[in-house]
């Protein structure tokens, strides 16, 4: 019942047309939004409020291809989720080497203040990490079709799920490191919030 796909009357599949999702979101909002239940009974108003809250969350999660995968995995695991994860994700093995270098640069920057050279280096590292994050996201989205096929047909569901989990962990880790680098560069204020908490 709480299934975000079901909220939109959609099957549990990863590929979906964003325009179509938006159209359904607007249509359902016109049904549930509290604005249209102002004169109704208290009970009806409370119902509209929670229906509309559920709808808004469902839309937020499903419209982004990566958070869609995250949600689907939680569903498969039978977890109740929420948007944030408080635990700092662990570094995936295949990223360790690259990350070490960044950490080193970060340590240096913290210890010796930020001179032009280390600023330059951190800035470049950040650029690289961001490209890497984007690549991870694209890789995740690219296998959406595979999942949709596996769900209805033959194929190794568990292996694919496991792969998704690893890639999501890698991406989450990249985001925290990017945040740390941005903070060190003093651009944390502009960004205003750490991604890791989203």
């Amino acid at each position: 019942m709480n299934d975000y796909f079901a909220v939109f009357g959609l099957p549990r599949k990863l590929q979906l047309d964003p325009e179509e999702l938006r159209r359904r979101f607007y249509e359902l909002s016109r049904v549930h939004h509290p604005d249209f239940h102002q004169g109704a009974s208290e009970e009806d108003q409370a119902e509209a409020l929670s229906a509309s809250a559920l709808l808004n969350r469902a839309y937020r999660v499903l419209r982004d291809p990566v958070s869609r995968v995250e949600y689907l995995i939680a569903l498969e695991d039978g977890r109740e989720t929420r948007e944030g994860a408080d635990a700092r994700p662990r570094a995936p093995v295949d990223l360790l080497e690259e990350i070490m270098e960044v950490q080193e640069a970060l340590q240096e920057a913290k210890a010796g203040g930020l001179d032009e050279v280390s600023r330059q280096r951190l800035s470049e590292e950040r650029q690289r990490l961001m490209a890497r994050q984007l690549a991870e996201e694209e890789a995740i989205a690219a296998r959406a079709a595979e999942w949709d096929a596996v769900v209805v047909g033959p194929g190794d569901r568990t292996a694919l799920l496991e792969w998704f989990k690893q890639r999501l962990a890698a991406r989450a880790y990249l985001r925290t490191v990017i945040d740390d680098v941005s903070d060190a560069l003093g651009q944390g204020e502009e960004r205003h919030v750490s991604h890791r908490r989203h």
Partner: protein
Amino acid sequence: MSRIVGIDLGTTNSLVAYIEGGVPKVIRDVEGRALLPSIVGYTPDGILVGEPARRQLVRNPARTIYSVKRFMGRGYDDIKDELCHCPFEFLASADVVRIKVGDSAVTPPEVSAHVLRALKQRAEAFFGEPLEQAVITVPAYFNDSQRQATKDAGRIAGLDVLRIVNEPTAASLAYGLQKLAQGTIAVYDLGGGTFDISILSVKDGVFEVLATNGNTHLGGDDFDRVLVEWLLADIRETHGVDLSQDPEARQELRLGAEAAKCRLSFEDRTLLTIPFEGFTYHRELTRAEVEKLIGPLVEATLGPCRMALKDAGLTPDRIDEVVLVGGSTRVPLVRRRVQELFGKVPHSQLNPDEVVAMGAAVQAQILAGGITDMLLLDVTPLSLGIETLGGVVSVLIARNTTIPTMAKEFFTTSVDGQTAVDLHVLQGERELARDNRSLARFDLSGIDPMPAGMPKIKVTFLIDANGILQVHAREIRTGKEASIEVRPTYGLTEDEVARMVEESFAHAEEDVNARLLIETRTEADTVMTHVDRALAQGARLVSPGDLGQIQQALQALREVRDGRDRDAIRERTIELNKATERLAEAMMDAALKGALASRRADQILESK
């Protein structure tokens, strides 16, 4: 459904609007003014609101409260830095800000309630029937406490606040209703005390806010403040006088600086003249000079714009239209910088002072069921989280999430037999609890004693369509609704609000009477001044009998002027008016004759 109005409760000015024949209309006072200055004056005879309060700003600085919106939903600690700029006194208190008025203290919601009540009365006089329901706007970047404080103000004023709407969103509704803006739009709202930027997608009647950002402490007031500081320094230099500690002088300077700033929006240079005791200060100001002073403040609005764009996932070139709202967007430098950022000439067809109230009226009409094809989807401006171990915040609802929205979280006990759990809820974007805005502490109690870790309390955090938080809790094992006591960090408690509502009912009649008395006296004063002046000029034009009658009527009015009998003052004012009729006529005749005579002289000259 009964009538619902839209109210823009501004830092500087407030106004009320409604929908007539599908079009938003602003309700004016008897003198035709739409804007009600958000100023409340406390006098021994009662409370003044709006223009009369504005007139006593300089005379009675300590008891004339302006820009109170800056203090809504805030704590004493938040505003310590500003205290020296304010001519009124604050009481150091841990929770809400309290302003000293004589021997007592008032809170910002109570002050705002006076402004709201004046607008309510204005609307009631206009409609000829009681008004109970309203939509009130707030800056989009207002946090939970500031929104709650606004709602409290409405309640104290005897209004049922059906919805709190974000100001830039309201503006977009007004533009959208008239099909003046479509596509992806940016609304830049710089008023007296606050700054908001909102990015919306407007499509098929759906107004979806994509992201919002801002600063609830940045506006035209701050422009005035840097100007005043500069002028004070200039006066020190040129006249060797330090006026910085003189509240009356400061107030004079503030008003002079504001007026000069406004003139400089249309002229390149302007002359500031302020008479002080012992000297008159003259200073020519150029637009370039003022732009240099306010430049950093204008720059400070651009960061939030970039952040909103980023959160919306857009680059400036993806914005189709830019809409300007708020009096401070008349400053040419502001327009220039906004235009540069978005690469587009901004719109301002709708009056920037009135557009927010008009949009609030549109939202009111949607709630009343009178508009069904428009749908507004707004967002919460700040992330909501709870404090966890080590003072770190765990975010439950991210900023720019469409509202209403909810998040569920499980909590348990850490000690055997523990029957209560304490939650600290915060708003903001920083990692540590202490750097964020504390909203409230929730005490969940009535948990059955169990071993530690056994109870499973499901807490639902719900942000409603007003952007205001509601919290519910349930113990899963027993299914029992846990009771929650809310202790707002910077807000009035339910009991306090209830008491204020009661008091305001009790005082409502008293307040109205006091105001009417003051107005009647003002009217009497005006007539007496006119008569004095007329006598000085034209006493010789009327008979001694008439003159005696005028003197008598004047004396009679003087006797009752300071009393509390309003009817007596009014009657004698009317009598004085009547007694001077012949004098007025005679003077008119004389003036006419004078005019005729000079005309004749002209003709004679011409015909020569």
